[in-house]
Amino acid sequence: MSDQIKATGKASPEQITYANMLFYGSWSGLALMAVTYLLYVFGIITPHIPLEKVPLLWSQPVHTYLELGQVPTGWGWAVLLGKGDFLNFLGIVLLAAMTIVCYIPLIPAFLKRKEFTFAVLALAEILVLMFAASGIVGGGGH
């Protein structure tokens, strides 16, 4: 941390950028989630699994839910976005993607200050999160 920033007790510019991006992204995700949920539960958009059938499935292990509900794993939900239940994934995914998005500007910011270790850490974190998000190893349940 530069001594100039440390002497003021204020957050560094890249930290402020991260905070601003996180603020708008997370609240947009939560708002989107609330809107799509209302569209779903009020039956405005027909769900993939009928609402009255979900309680039969949520007490079962995930593999039963996937099998009987014909629910895709990985990014397979994307083809069902026209259905009320899967439309909710837009808000959920926006929340889950915010950290990846917020990390991107950190790399040039650290490189500019010649803080290569932190630039590499930020890049590695993006790769780890993208690996988790990719669903490469996410198919099926126990």
Partner: protein, 335 residues
């Protein structure tokens, strides 16, 4: 003024993007997945035969009860100074009809949403430090992926058993832990120095500039391997473990430890949440009322904080955790 304009522009852009995204998604997907949907009807008839008749409770009852329950949980969590996830998973898996797979998925989303919403304020006030979080987050989030896979691979009964033990351990940890507002760090260790794990913040109550640095950085970082695995495995969030390690072990001031811990959850839980999401463990009908309920509860909890008696609530939460942990333990033992 320029910053405000920038904020308004960014906010408007987000809302427009959200609308366009929603519209485009509905339009694109309206033609997709039709065959699958037609197939689901017949599969659900089979499901009825396999799983038995209707539950006897209208479908909207549980989400509504969950919304109210999580609202109360959100208030209690703030007053007791614990994260929502740590209360949500044992209580909802113990007293609601949802399978542990979905409770863990929703628990991670609950912890993630809370951390994402709290993150910006903490980062701006410098109570959460990006420099402290970056190395720690990389270890914890990588291990959370591993934990999530472990949790999905192990039989439910074993996970219940470990969950019970963990929850009871957390209750004891909360009971015994003594935080230090400003730990004395006489000399920063080499790793902490190399990673630049230091900073400062202005104490709002006094206006004083508080400078801090870490020590025992390597053992502290190693602890996040275990914390990450547990966060991913049980969907608990991990504030209960982050704070003592950052504060007592690594020597970060309590405010920085609490702020950075909350911010860390937004990164650690993201990686595990993706695994649960990709495995189909997030059911929106139960996950979204949980998230909304807990967040609304947290806002009310913050307002009540000035009037409430936190000591009583703290002991109440410890009691509830011991009870819920015991219940999970018994479930795991098949009792």
């Amino acid at each position: 003024m320029t910053m405000n304009r920038k904020h308004v522009l960014a906010g408007s852009a987000c809302i427009v993007l959200m609308g366009v995204l929603l519209f485009a998604a509905v339009a694109w997907a309206s033609n997709a997945g039709t065959d699958a949907v037609a197939h689901v009807g017949s599969e659900m008839v089979k499901a009825g035969a396999v799983l038995g008749a209707e539950t006897g409770v209208a479908w909207w009852v549980w989400p509504l009860v969950l919304l109210f329950f999580c609202f109360v949980l959100g208030i209690i969590a703030v007053l007791a100074g614990v994260g929502g996830g740590v209360l949500y998973v044992p209580l909802v898996s113990g007293f609601f009809p949802f399978h542990l797979d979905f409770v863990r998925g929703a628990g991670l989303m609950v912890a993630l949403a809370g951390a994402l919403a709290a993150g910006p304020g903490l980062l701006k006030r410098n109570f959460a430090s990006l420099r402290l979080a970056l190395p720690v987050a990389l270890i914890a989030s990588s291990c959370a992926i591993l934990g999530a896979f472990l949790g999905m691979a192990l039989p439910t009964r074993i996970v219940q058993l470990f969950l019970g033990i963990t929850i009871m351990g957390i209750a004891i940890l909360i009971l015994c832990s003594k935080n230090s507002a400003r730990p004395v760090v006489t000399k920063q260790d080499a790793l902490g120095l190399a990673l630049g794990m230091n900073g400062s913040y202005v104490e709002p109550s006094t206006g004083e500039l508080v400078e801090w640095k870490t020590h025992r950085t390597l053992p502290g970082l190693l602890m996040f391997i275990i914390i990450g695995i547990m966060a991913g495995m049980f969907g608990l969030g991990a504030g209960w473990a982050n704070v003592p390690v950052l504060n007592l072990m690594m020597g970060a001031p309590l405010k920085v430890a609490v702020g950075t811990s909350k911010f860390l959850l937004s990164i650690t839980d993201t990686s595990a949440a993706w695994v649960y999401l990709n495995k189909g463990c997030v059911i929106p009908l139960m996950a979204i009322p949980s998230i909304i309920g807990l967040m609304l509860g947290s806002f009310v909890g913050v307002r009540l904080l000035a009037k409430a008696k936190p000591t009583f609530i703290r002991y109440m939460v410890i009691g509830v955790l011991l009870f819920a942990g015991g219940k999970a333990l018994l479930k795991g033992l098949g009792v």
